[in-house]
């Protein structure tokens, strides 16, 4: 190999990115620039994408260090709306805690929390219309909670029990809820990106008024689907909002493996000629404001927007990994943009519209509600304990009508169950 290297040329070397901190290191985020509120002002919603390139490199912020909301991005939400937002984010946190624990108790196979990123699913959904279509990745259960999807139905899905609307077919948290404007979650990453564009193109071609919003993570922006989707959206000026939840980590791979050492994720928009915003993802008001800006653009035929939420994944990727094995222990505590729930709470308190006592009472109320719903859901069974959908449902919905070969295989499977459980099995 080496003999091909000519003496007078410096050797090439391969750059393999490495995160700044690993287990045992002391995390230090002093190099992360947190600009002042309104360092990038809110442009007119009809602005040409080429005129707002700095927004793809800055950081849209509304909540300042003093917990007050200010600047041109301030959405001016009422105290009631802010309290609702806080309530939804706290409910999401309570739900996540309970379901994470259920997995640890062996009641299901898998769970994924959204700790630290609650604003990116709750505040965004509040800025959309109820009938706009959401194409989530796997960490946007906050959309369902914000749209008042029944918690028991979410739990039934997580338990894959006989109450599961998806008939126990999908990995826990891969919900589908068309009536709630929530697209079926895939386990394959970023496949929802071109699908959201297709939905938005259909809406536009039908002179509808609904728009599409789609989420993915920083890591999966590397998928080809991401780039196909942005190309199509740009070409057809589709009414779609692309969102990248940059939580810094894709399982154990830091965002550098998706290209963050060189540029921002919002800056991907520039090459496609679409609007790009980089937003403080832990500032629920900034997240709301960015989504509202992008939604208004999409709804008025000003085309797609790519929004990057700069945030941090507070816990593991899922119940299947241990983040202490690959990153520094204290990263979340040291994260310079704080915690989205704590910041919204502090803002409401600063407004004189909330108190620690009220907060504690709300946390307790939501925790009790989740516990009660969990009890209700568990009446329908937990994973692997018999109370599932009937065996033959395994063969339903592969096609609209079951073809002969599936009927044959279904009969075979039922005979296997008879062998296994005895003749009384069918009577049950």
């Amino acid at each position: 190999m080496g003999q091909h290297n000519q003496d007078n040329l410096a050797p090439l070397h391969l750059h393999v990115p490495e995160p700044k901190f690993r287990p045992g290191d002391k995390a230090d985020f002093s190099d992360i620039v947190v600009p002042e509120v309104d360092a990038v002002a809110r442009p007119d919603e009809h602005v040409a994408p080429a005129e707002i390139h700095p927004l793809a490199y800055g950081l849209v912020r509304v909540l300042g260090d003093d917990n007050n909301a200010s600047g041109s991005w301030n959405p001016g939400l009422s105290a009631d709306t802010l309290r609702l937002m806080l309530r939804k984010m706290l409910m999401l946190r309570a739900f996540d805690d309970r379901m994470f624990r259920a997995q640890r108790q062996g009641k299901t196979s898998f769970y994924m929390k959204s700790f630290g990123e609650e604003a990116t699913s709750v505040a965004t959904t509040m800025a959309l219309h109820r009938d706009d279509m959401c194409f989530p990745s796997y960490r946007q259960q906050g959309i369902l909670i914000t749209r008042d999807y029944p918690l028991v139905d979410m739990m039934n899905q997580i338990y894959s029990n006989r109450g599961d609307r998806l008939k126990g077919r999908q990995l826990p948290i891969m919900y589908s809820a068309k009536d709630y404007g929530f697209f079926s979650i895939s386990g394959n990453l970023t496949t929802q990106y071109p699908q959201a564009v297709g939905w938005a193109m259909a809406s536009a071609s039908r002179a509808d008024t609904r728009i599409a919003a789609v989420w993915c993570g920083d890591g999966s922006t590397a998928e080809g689907d991401f780039h196909s989707a942005l190309t199509f959206a740009a070409v057809y000026n589709a009414p779609v909002i692309f969102q990248v939840v940059n939580n810094q980590w894709a399982i154990s791979s830091f965002s550098g493996f998706a290209g963050s050492e060189r540029t921002t994720f919002a800056a991907r928009a520039i090459g496609y000629g679409i609007a790009g915003l980089r937003v403080d993802g832990n500032d629920a008001l900034a997240v709301y404001a960015a989504m509202q800006w992008a939604a208004n653009r999409a709804r008025t035929n000003n085309g797609p927007t790519l929004i990057e939420y700069f945030t941090y994944r507070g816990e593991g990727h899922s119940t299947s990994d241990d983040p202490s094995a690959y990153r520094a222990a204290e990263e979340y505590a040291l994260w310079p943009l704080g915690d989205p729930v704590e910041r919204l709470k502090a803002h409401l308190i600063a407004l004189g519209e909330w108190s620690d006592a009220q907060h504690e009472a709300l946390v307790a109320e939501l925790s009790d509600e989740v516990k009660a719903k969990q009890k209700e859901a568990e009446q329908n069974g937990i994973l692997g304990h018999g109370l599932h959908h009937p065996f033959e449902t395994m063969f339903e919905d592969v096609f609209e009508e079951m073809p002969a070969h599936l009927k044959e295989q279904c009969a075979q499977m039922l005979e296997e169950q008879r062998d296994k459980f005895g003749p009384e099995w069918e009577a049950r």
């Binding site: 999908q170 697209f183 071109p194 297709g198 809406s203 199509f232 002969a404």
Partner: protein, 342 residues
């Protein structure tokens, strides 16, 4: 519209007519793909359709098969009935994840919450000096996926009726068009002049709406000596070889590979006692392997000779040696000799 006005059409014209009929009667039908709009497609299958039905119904796309199929899945989720064209079957692979993991599973994974009534049309097969990236027959990749129907017509009449049924189907369909027979029923005798479709009965095509149910094979020649299972271009090659050699073969054009019309196959093989499986695609793990397995499962005690497979070789499609690769008259004649010997 009714079946009564019949016109002579080649396969391209029949496909164009099917698309035209469906665009006309169902406002949800949308056609998209590379060069399908103004230009009308590199094989002209969509010629004139944009002009007639408008730019939001028939339009060009970026060169991104992942995008084309992924956008189709999203349009179907909205409630449209997209009919994307993939310019050559060889180009379908960038869209494979969207087909296999998304379109095919949408109904199942969402328990009927979302469905994907999308028909992906794509010219496939060789014999046109297309080299290894314009000649492939990847049908068995799709028959292996649960949740997709795979359809391959062999005549203009079938192409139109099957395509209409595919578009009306509420599940995703991959519709492979044998491009070697777009303009005439190629017999495999590449050194002889090609007959135009007008001399073939399959070219009498009703101008209006009609459908041929998916999942039904056609017995295109009745016979007693041996059953030949085939589809697409090879239907015509087998017919020509059988005629040339005076073999009393029963030729079954599968038309739909999945769901498979196993009843028609089983009845025929039990009658003839011999079974030959013919496809242009590569041999190993090809659809012929599936056919062979199913026939021996159901007809083993009726078989008087081993099932014979006649296929393309397990190499990429070679440009200059195309006719040595193609399962043409010589390979077929040798296989008939072998299967009839026992």
């Amino acid at each position: 519209m009714s079946e009564d006005t019949t016109k002579t059409m080649n396969m391209i014209e029949a496909i164009n007519s099917a698309l035209d009929v469906m665009l006309g009667q169902d406002p949800d039908v949308v056609i998209m793909g590379e060069d399908v709009g103004y230009f009308g497609g590199v094989f002209r299958a969509t010629a004139g359709l944009q002009k007639k039905h408008g730019k939001t119904r028939v339009f060009d796309t970026p060169i991104s098969e992942c995008g084309i199929i992924g956008v189709g899945v999203g349009m179907a989720a909205y409630g449209l009935r997209p009919v994307p064209e993939i310019q050559f079957a060889d180009y379908i692979y960038p869209g494979l994840d969207q087909l296999v993991s998304e379109a095919a599973r949408m109904r199942y994974r969402s328990a009927n919450d979302f469905i994907c009534p999308m028909t992906v049309r794509s010219p496939f097969g060789g014999g046109i000096f297309g080299g290894q990236t314009h000649s492939q027959s990847p049908e068995s990749l799709f028959t292996h996926v649960c949740g997709i129907k795979t359809v391959i017509p062999a005549t203009p009449y079938d192409a139109k009726g099957l395509l209409i049924a595919a578009i009306e189907d509420n599940d995703p369909v991959v519709f492979f068009e044998p491009k070697r027979i777009y303009n005439g029923p190629f017999t495999g005798y590449y050194d002889r002049p090609v007959e135009p479709w007008s001399k073939h009965e399959g070219s009498a095509v009703p101008e209006g709406y009609y459908r041929i149910e998916l999942g039904k094979a056609a017995v295109v020649r009745e016979g007693q000596a041996v059953t030949v299972l085939t589809y697409g271009t090879m239907v015509h090659v087998v017919k020509a070889v059988v005629a040339e050699h005076g073999i009393d073969a029963e030729i079954i054009d599968l038309r739909t590979l999945l769901p498979l019309d196993i009843e028609t196959i089983e009845a025929s093989v039990k009658k003839t006692g011999r079974c030959m499986v013919v496809h242009e695609a590569t041999r190993t793990s090809g659809f012929g392997a599936e056919l062979s397995a199913q026939v021996q499962e159901r007809c083993f005690y009726h078989l008087e000779a081993p099932i014979e497979r006649v296929t393309g070789f397990d190499t990429p499609y070679p440009h200059s040696l195309e006719w040595a690769y193609f399962p043409g008259p010589v390979r077929l004649a040798r296989a008939f000799d072998k299967i009839m010997k026992d």
